[in-house]
Subunit: 342 residues, 2 copies
DNA sequence: AAAAAGCAGACAATCGATTGCACAATTCAA
DNA sequence: TTGAATTGTGCAATCGATTGTCTGCTTTTT
């Protein structure tokens, strides 16, 4: 009923008449221990129901076998998929994962950094908050040589590895797709320009436009925080202008959703009057009416890759590298852009 | 560049010419230490940039200040919201959270139990996998007196506390709402009957039917694993019968979605020919066409409450109690049931 | 003024696994 | 046969914070 006195390596040692250090080495498969002893130790460990005390081991080795994750919000599908990828890989390698949410606020992000640091995680994977414009708090990690890998929303200021999707190509595919559907006046709603991924999506869009000699109108490119409300405002601004676009490429699905809702409300037909393409392939995009054409990016793969990279740095003690891994994206054609080229 | 030798309580002690134990007690606000000394210690700690080493403390106290969470899948909105609630509360109280996903498989759930146990978490919050029909693996915790709280998908076999939403009322509200809209033949697609929450939703539905003297037809109540595919099969079965229902109450939104997709495909008008109500208020339900009437349940609140309960058990060492907290639900009326009573 | 009580702080053991070094036993080379 | 090399284990210190017990000093009580 009380504390079951836990089995320690010393109990095993006593049972076998050997020393604790030998047991420890045997369990860690140290080459200095004979196979016979190793087997005896392992068998006895099983018999006694030994459970290693990670705490003690952590204290001695100052490795926690834990990685920290900082994400804006877990309830966004892309991030929860990323978490799944991170966990999958980390657990398989014997690492635990501690997750912190910044709620897209820089201050909370700083708190997350502190929490993870105090938990003495062996490494950190992060996707920065929307309004993070300065990365000093991350120096808590880099100063102490704690490996750090960014994903999706990455930070260029710090010398770390990064995992992103091919946002440039995504932007390009989206725009070219709209062009192929005969759209002539293609607007783009972009995100905060201090984040690479939005810059890249925009650049991809611009490249497609140039490639096909479509005139680029600065009024048709607007920056937005990409939430529901601002999406409506952007839709209004674009669609009520004297020369409205015949297509909009939104830098995320949430904004594309706002556009669709706005258009429905105003009797603008999609895709006939206005074609729409989003970005991310959020789960809801498939069920919208019309369903949303979008760029698929695999959160799972991004998480997996980031973890692979991080654990490699941790285990090989190579120090923070500056590798950048770019994962592929894919255009998913649905109804919102399904019109005949005219 | 190498290991910055970390500041320990002994460094503080040396700097002040006092002993380590005094520093420890001062930092823990022990009453045996004078205010003057406490202040001196705290100031010095700040000056030196002292960061307590949780590992050492954990080892000594055998408390990890960490709670474990086992959930089916983090990518489902209800669960990610619950996680947010759990984290919010736990962090505020100085606890870390380790999350494990069972992917709705009993075997993985067992693995999660082992992982969390090996991590020596101070307590566990769990929502069981769909196919878990036996709870022996959870005894790993109960045997060692590790507090355990279930939420949403709870287990009655073990003597633990539980947090659920009012599924019975939800079922009742859903059915009564359909009745108020003039529906006469109301089908119900329920979930696995070894899970209380589906039993309760069903019972709520039955009570409403009885209250309003609507005939209950056993053929109109079917059990389903409640996924996309099976939802289509259920829809087909119900709607192609010789006497199809004029309303369906599905035990989750995913199944309701399947019904809507099936009906669209077959030219069945919603809500005129068929009214539909789901359960959960998943984010997509708002954007469907027609938008989905559903029962809202707050994952966040459930997570918060479960954590409150768990931390209370941990901190007051009251042992596992058997409290059951029931949180409210709410009907959200949308288009899929918006027809005039006939 | 002597005894009792209270206070502030120090000492040292402890949590359990790891690891540098020492040492014994065995094998091998010369 | 002796010295060297190799192999298998044990000893004891260590990681850093916590905590039961003890000490010396101050205050209070009678």
């Amino acid at each position: 009923m009380k504390k079951e006195s836990n089995i320690t390596i010393h109990d095993i040692a006593k049972a076998l008449g050997i020393s604790g250090s030998t047991v420890s080495r045997a369990l860690n498969n140290n080459s200095r221990i004979s196979d016979k002893t190793k087997k005896a130790v392992r068998d006895m460990a099983k018999t006694l129901g030994y459970q290693p005390n990670a705490l003690a081991s952590n204290l001695r080795t100052s490795c926690t076998n834990t990685i920290g994750v900082i994400i804006p919000r877990i309830s966004r599908y892309f991030f929860s998929s990323a978490i799944t990828g991170i966990e999958e890989f980390a657990r398989e390698k014997g690492f635990n994962v501690i997750i912190c949410q910044s709620n897209d606020q820089k201050e909370r992000e700083s708190d997350c950094v502190q929490t993870l640091f105090a938990s003495r995680v062996d490494g950190v994977i992060s996707s920065v908050a929307l309004n993070t414009d300065n990365y000093d708090h991350y120096k808590t990690f880099t100063n102490k040589n704690i490996p750090l890998v960014f994903f999706d929303r990455v930070c260029d200021e710090l010398e770390t590895s990064k995992v992103v999707v091919d946002d440039f190509k995504g932007g390009f595919l989206a725009a070219e797709h709209l062009i192929s559907k005969g759209c002539k006046r293609i607007a783009h709603i972009s995100g905060p320009q201090h984040l690479n991924l939005y810059i890249n999506r925009l650049q991809g869009y611009l490249k497609a436009m140039r490639k096909h000699n479509i005139q680029i109108d600065k009024d048709q490119i607007i920056e937005s925080p990409l939430n529901r409300e601002d999406g409506l405002a952007c839709a209004k601004k674009l669609l009520e202008s004297s020369n409205p676009p015949d297509a909009i490429f939104a830098a995320n699905d949430t904004t594309a959703l706002s556009i669709i809702l706005y258009a429905k409300d105003k009797g603008i037909r999609i895709p006939q009057d206005l074609a729409v393409v989003g970005f991310s392939n959020e789960p809801f995009s498939e069920y919208l009416s019309p369903s949303l054409t979008t760029i698929e990016q695999s959160g799972f793969d991004v998480g997996l890759k980031a973890t692979e990279l991080l654990l490699d740095i941790i285990q090989n003690k190579t120090g923070n590298r500056q590798e950048t891994i770019v994962l592929p994206v894919r255009l998913i054609e649905r109804e919102s852009s399904n019109k005949l080229p005219n």
